[in-house]
Symmetry: C2
Subunit: 275 residues, 2 copies
């Protein structure tokens, strides 16, 4: 059973909210300030699992996290979708005009860019985590400083919300994955989604041939993303997510794609969290 | 002939360097502080063309710029690749220990994250443009403030480079596109690359069928990116780049994909800038 989970951020962060919603049993969170530390915590066996944001409606795929999973031979064992609502918060008794600087995670700043264009007097400063700024504002009683974070963070650290749901895209869904060390397996009868990576040539038809096999094996594609392989011109890595009804179908597809592509790798086999 | 070009940033910015390398004739740059203003400048006919970064080795696709091109019915008429080298710069006579805050564009901050982890005393602040910070440091004689920008910016604004090539990935290639208003056309005999967008169903095989047509029509795929359509579950938008030898082949593929997919759109037909 998973007992300790490494998350990016502190209590009240979106990764923390994911651990609370995803796991059936209560888990301890190991608070990490970077995704690299999440991975370290897993590798050194300090934690049983880690949570990582993988894509969202504004920025698309978070490519560096794909690379972390791939490079460190982690295994995706689950996914979770969260509708992320960003709120501007500060010490009680202040108005938005009193706020000089707002600190938050770069992704949160990006997602709220449009809101801050209407408040050009506010300086936006990159920070490690959304909720950790909220914690710091309360702890150090920082006047004139704002955080962008969840309602949960405002409650935990007793801050006033000055503006609600300030992200540009109101329905701002982020997909998180739960990762474990290599060789972690989900029971076959629970698996109906997989993330794979393979390399294929620029040569016309190479990708189409692989997608044909997927389709012949009754897999549905829910995501595809090509990335140029920097050292090898005209060769591409593809990250593909597929869903299926029958694990045997996916097994067959795996065997075929392994032969047809280079560097085929299963990044995870897990349960589809979308209805 | 293109005479005025809207760029994101000021003289010495990477977009400015692109205009200097891409156009054969000298062009005037219209300095814009956001990509939205680049688009506005084009639409109001203040400028003849615009330059926009579209993807890079670290962050992958810059999805918001795809959306801007799509939404505003712009047309991609060319592409340019730039190997982006970031440098830390400040007023002369200072060392890296003297620097308290570094201001730059979020993408530059992201690309140099690893370097600044070794200098935790420096606060990273988001700004609108890389070179504009260099300009401001010189103009206002800002002590203790650093910029991350090109060598050209350091030269133009007479700053000292404190650290060279500080980006995490040393060969940091960014792809820029040159956009014009709708109905701008490149002569057919110069076209050997195109960017298209279409929507297809989650239904198995829909994407494979379209890629088969592309392959049958002798198109090679150089990029593919799926994006979920937020309002329509299980429907995806695909952004695909293809190269070809013969424009007639692409014309045939267009006619077929138009029938097979929904909302098919050519975002641009232009000359491939990769050897």
């Amino acid at each position: 059973m998973i007992k300790t989970v490494a998350i990016q951020g502190v209590r009240g962060s979106f990764h923390h909210i994911v651990t609370q919603q995803f796991f059936d049993n209560p888990v301890d969170s190991i608070e990490c300030m970077t995704f690299d530390s999440v991975v370290d915590s897993l590798i050194t066996q300090e934690s049983d699992a880690g949570v990582m944001a993988l894509e969202n409606s504004i920025a698309g795929s978070i490519i560096p996290n794909y690379a972390l999973i791939d490079k460190n031979e982690l295994h995706i064992v689950g996914e979770h979708y969260l509708d992320i609502q960003h709120n501007l918060m500060a010490l009680k008794g202040q108005s938005i005009e009193d706020i000089k600087e707002v600190y938050s995670h770069p992704m949160a700043l990006l997602q709220c860019k449009q809101f801050f264009r209407k408040h050009p007097h506010i300086k936006l400063v990159e920070d490690k985590d959304t909720a950790e700024v909220a914690e710091r504002i309360q702890e150090k009683q920082l006047i004139g400083i704002g955080a962008i974070a969840s309602v949960a963070a405002a409650e935990i650290f007793e801050l006033d919300i000055l503006a609600e749901s300030i992200q540009t895209i109101k329905h701002n869904e982020t997909r998180f994955v739960i990762v474990k060390r290599k060789n972690s397996v989900v029971p076959e009868n629970e698996i109906n989604k997989a993330s794979v990576k393979f390399e294929a040539n620029h040569k016309r038809g190479s990708l189409a041939a692989i997608l044909n096999v997927m389709s012949d094996c009754r897999l549905s594609l829910t995501k595809i993303q090509s990335l140029p392989i920097i050292e090898t011109p005209w060769k591409y890595a593809f990250f593909v997510d597929v869903t299926f009804d029958n694990y045997e179908d996916f097994k067959k597809a795996k065997a075929l794609i392994e032969i047809m592509s280079d560097a085929f790798k299963v990044l995870g086999e897990y349960k589809n969290a979308k209805l």
